[in-house]
């Protein structure tokens, strides 16, 4: 029973990388399709639409970040991996913001990116503003990341 702790914790870590990664993959893919369409018309817009395509990719990185932090905290990457079942569950819960908000915001951000790519294709001079719209969505991924970071790093010090 005691070893269940590490399983829960690992489950949370892996799920964070997994779900956020899937979300970002879908998002970057969607934006990539739109970007490719624009580049067929005007190859010179490559740089501008590439930035917009990459924006939904950050959630995957945040997921990786949380996964990595958790892995180091629970000792999978060396150190003792003696985690009580409660702590394991806590780690799982701590990963939840990233697990849920990550993929969701990546896909929503991708939709904003697609719209912004359309904007850039028609008004290339407005590229600066076009970047801001998808970046607004990212705020929530960042907030989720923040809570996950604080929670994951905080659990180690608890006495349970």
């Amino acid at each position: 029973m005691e070893s269940l702790g590490i399983i829960f914790a690992l489950f949370g870590a892996v799920l964070a990388a997994l779900s956020a990664g899937i979300g970002s993959a879908i998002g970057v893919g969607m934006a990539g399709e739109a970007a490719a369409g624009v580049v067929t018309e005007d190859p010179n817009k490559f740089g501008k639409v590439l930035i917009l395509q990459l924006l939904p990719g950050t959630q995957g990185i945040y997921g990786l970040l949380i996964a990595f932090l958790t892995l180091t905290q629970i000792g999978i990457l060396g150190g003792s991996s003696d985690i009580t079942i409660f702590k394991g569950l806590l780690y799982l819960v701590a990963c939840l913001p990233m697990i849920l908000v990550g993929p969701w915001s990546a896909i929503r951000q991708a939709r904003a990116s697609v719209a912004s790519i359309a904007l850039v294709s028609k008004r290339p001079d407005q590229a600066g503003k076009a970047i801001i719209f998808p970046a607004m969505v990212e705020t929530y991924a960042i907030l989720a990341l923040l809570i996950s970071i604080l929670a994951v790093t905080g659990i180690g010090g608890l006495n349970i």
């Binding site: 930035i51 950050t58 990185i61 945040y62 990595f68 801001i132 970046a135 607004m136 990212e138 970071i149």
Partner: protein, 673 residues
């Protein structure tokens, strides 16, 4: 540092001088010609559409010729070419090119012609190739495909679907047309899809035979020829060869024009200049002997422009006046080398609108700081500094826009290196990983301040403190704007009250033990300070409730609006929280760098391990720089545009767009006709 003051300029002159006047103005590039003077029965604008169309047509031809050259003889381009900027054309070459003008146009036309020939040849060759391939199954037929029989016989040359043998055919024919007996059937070739047959019968039996064949799905070839297939194939091959030669010759001739590329590009530039000049001509008000030109000129350009014009013309009268208060004057910014680079980012938001200050200076300072905090790796920062510094030194002739961008990243790099050193991140924890893996002793580069990953709460507090400073600077800009416009009441209501409210709330929070506990603070403000802060916030809150809705006369409405205005305090909270991205993005860089180093170290300490480490290190860190550079750029923009500008800046000004030389390929000093 500022938005440059603009003046109206009016030039009154004789019509015969108008082209020379325009030429001087275009060369100086100091005047934006405006088009708002109305025509009357004396002064009218010239119709330039014909001339403009002609120029545009010429430019289109030349552009096409350049495209053709680029397609057939691609220019060798390297990544760094974009940094080199437009070349300056030496005067002697310029003179030479002017004389060769007709030749250049002839060359362009010939290029277009040749490209047409090539595409025609391509189409013909393709058609012939399909026909030759279609004729392959007929190769052994010694009669032409068009052969329909003799006086007494009827011939059927064509295909049947599917594979069929001679016997099978004969059997079906006798079934379908029993009355016919004398039929000669020959199978020319068979394949899985079709059988090519030659069938001969007496002319009198042609009807029933044809019907029988039809029922089997007989079809004559889709193309026909009057000579036997084998000879026809040869003939077509000969024609194809001829076409291929023609195509090759055309290509070679195009290659021969490679020397004209420069001339063509130059001509394109000249045409662009002339088009702009003709457009300017269309904006002039002209009477029979005089003209009027109106526009905007930056104040500092007035004296040089005046002296340049007066030196050349005697019969010219210049008039300058201040623009009206309500007018939407074009904006030209002037900043020093440190702050100027972020003008590009500002442009992508919007230039300052009516009555707004140039936000470049505060924006630039915070831009660099925030960017550095987000990327926050000393080695990455140094790489940026070295890369941008090298390009800036090496390519002196860089276009101004590119130079500004590189300079911006140069400063961002300095800041990144600074914060990276503060937080102890050099390619993440590369030093530690390398020393433990390969030298078996642990060496660390300690952070000058603290390591965010081990103390994220501290970093969070720092991020938010940074946010408060950024936002309060934005409010300060608003205060300055209000005072400059002598709107002292607005300054009090919209700025000072908010300073008091937000500042007071922060102070009172910092004096509570609970809050200090959450944030892990190692200090706590005395409770007297907390009480003062609370009182200040309360006064400000009342003030805001009373004044935020001050445009409403109705007191009830006014209070409601005031309460809504006070609700905006949540906006400040979310603005401040928004700066937590400094922590998140900073950690992202560091943690991914750490992951890369750990992955690299997995191969152990042998030679193989070292090679693996090097590979993973190079590829991984390149990707990490790329991704996080993008992230830092985007989110620094966001913090500037949304949080910072949200406090004082709306933009909406149009950029000063002077009448000047706007060339694509060369810098042209002189342009005479």
């Amino acid at each position: 540092m500022a938005v440059l003051p603009m003046k109206h300029i009016h030039i009154y002159g004789l019509k015969r001088d108008r082209k020379q006047v325009l030429e001087i103005l275009q060369r100086r590039g100091a005047v934006q010609i405006s088009d708002d003077d109305a025509e009357d029965h004396v002064f009218q604008k010239a119709d330039i559409s014909v001339e403009k169309m002609q120029l545009e047509k010429q430019a289109a031809d030349i552009r096409k010729a350049v495209e053709i050259l680029d397609r057939y003889i691609p220019e060798q381009k390297s990544m760094l070419d974009a940094l080199k900027g437009r070349r300056e054309l030496p005067v002697e070459q310029y003179e030479k090119l002017r004389k060769e003008k007709d030749e250049i146009f002839t060359a362009a036309n010939r290029l277009i012609e040749l490209s047409g020939t090539i595409s025609e040849c391509n189409a013909d060759i393709y058609r012939l190739q399909t026909q030759i391939e279609g004729l392959v199954p007929w190769d052994s037929l010694d009669l032409p495909l068009s052969f329909r029989g003799t006086k007494t016989t009827a011939a059927f040359v064509g295909t049947l679907p599917g594979e069929a043998s001679r016997e099978e055919l004969r059997r079906i024919l006798t079934d379908q047309a029993p009355e016919v007996d004398a039929v000669h059937v020959e199978i020319i070739s068979t394949s899985e899809d079709q059988t090519c047959i030659f069938l001969l019968c007496p002319r009198s039996d042609a009807g029933p035979v044809e019907n029988a064949l039809r029922s089997m799905g007989f079809a004559r070839p889709s193309f026909t020829s009057d000579i036997p297939p084998a000879r026809q194939t040869q003939e077509w091959k000969a024609v194809k060869l001829g076409l291929e030669q023609k195509r090759r010759a055309a290509r070679e001739e195009i290659t021969g024009f490679s020397g004209q590329r420069v001339n063509l590009k130059y001509t394109l530039d000249v045409l662009a200049i002339r088009t702009e000049k003709v457009e300017a001509l269309g904006h002039l008000l002209q009477s029979r002997r005089t003209f009027i030109l109106s526009g905007y000129i930056p104040e500092r350009e007035i004296r040089p422009a005046e002296s340049a014009l007066n030196r050349r013309f005697d019969d010219l009268y210049l008039e300058f006046e201040d623009p009206a208060e309500t007018e939407d004057v074009p904006v030209l910014l002037e900043n020093n080398k440190f702050t100027e680079p972020v003008e590009g980012v500002l442009r992508s938001f919007s230039f300052p609108g009516k009555g707004e200050i140039d936000p470049t200076v505060p924006m630039a300072v915070f831009y660099y700081i925030l960017f550095g905090l987000m990327l926050s790796d000393a080695a990455y920062g140094l790489l940026m500094v070295l890369g941008c510094g090298f390009c800036l030194r090496k390519f002196k002739n860089m276009e101004p826009g590119m130079r500004k961008t590189l300079r911006m990243f140069f400063f961002c790099g300095i800041s990144t290196a600074f914060w990276g050193a503060m937080f102890g991140s050099w390619f993440g924890d590369a030093v530690k990983v390398v020393s433990t893996t390969f030298f078996h002793k642990t060496v660390t580069l300690p952070p000058l301040w603290f390591e965010p990953i081990t103390d994220p709460m501290r970093m969070l507090v720092f991020s938010m403190a940074m946010g408060v400073i950024h936002l309060f600077t934005g409010l300060g800009a608003k205060l300055y704007q209000c005072i400059r416009a002598r709107q002292y009441k607005d300054a009090l209501y919209d700025v000072v009250f908010w300073y008091m409210l937000v500042g007071g709330l922060i102070v009172s929070m910092l004096s509570t033990e609970k809050f200090a506990d959450i944030l892990n603070l190692n200090f706590i403000l005395p409770s007297a300070a907390g009480r003062t802060g609370s009182a200040m916030a309360a006064v400000a809150a009342v003030g805001i409730i009373l004044t935020a809705g001050r445009e409403s006369r109705n007191w009830f409405k006014r209070i409601l609006k005031g309460l809504y205005g006070l609700y905006n305090v949540t906006g400040y909270m979310s603005d401040i929280l928004s700066y937590s991205r400094l922590l998140a993005l900073g950690l992202a860089t560091g943690v991914i760098a750490t992951v890369i180093n750990q992955m690299g170290a997995m191969g152990g300490s042998g030679i193989g391990g070292a090679v693996l480490f090097l590979l993973v290190f190079l590829i991984g860190h390149s990707i990490n720089i790329g991704i996080n550079l993008l992230g830092a750029y985007v989110h620094t923009n966001r913090l500037s545009f949304v949080e910072f500008f949200g406090k004082f800046y709306e933009g909406g000004g149009s950029e000063f767009a002077p009448f000047a030389f706007h060339t694509k390929y060369f810098k042209i000093k002189e342009e005479t006709q």
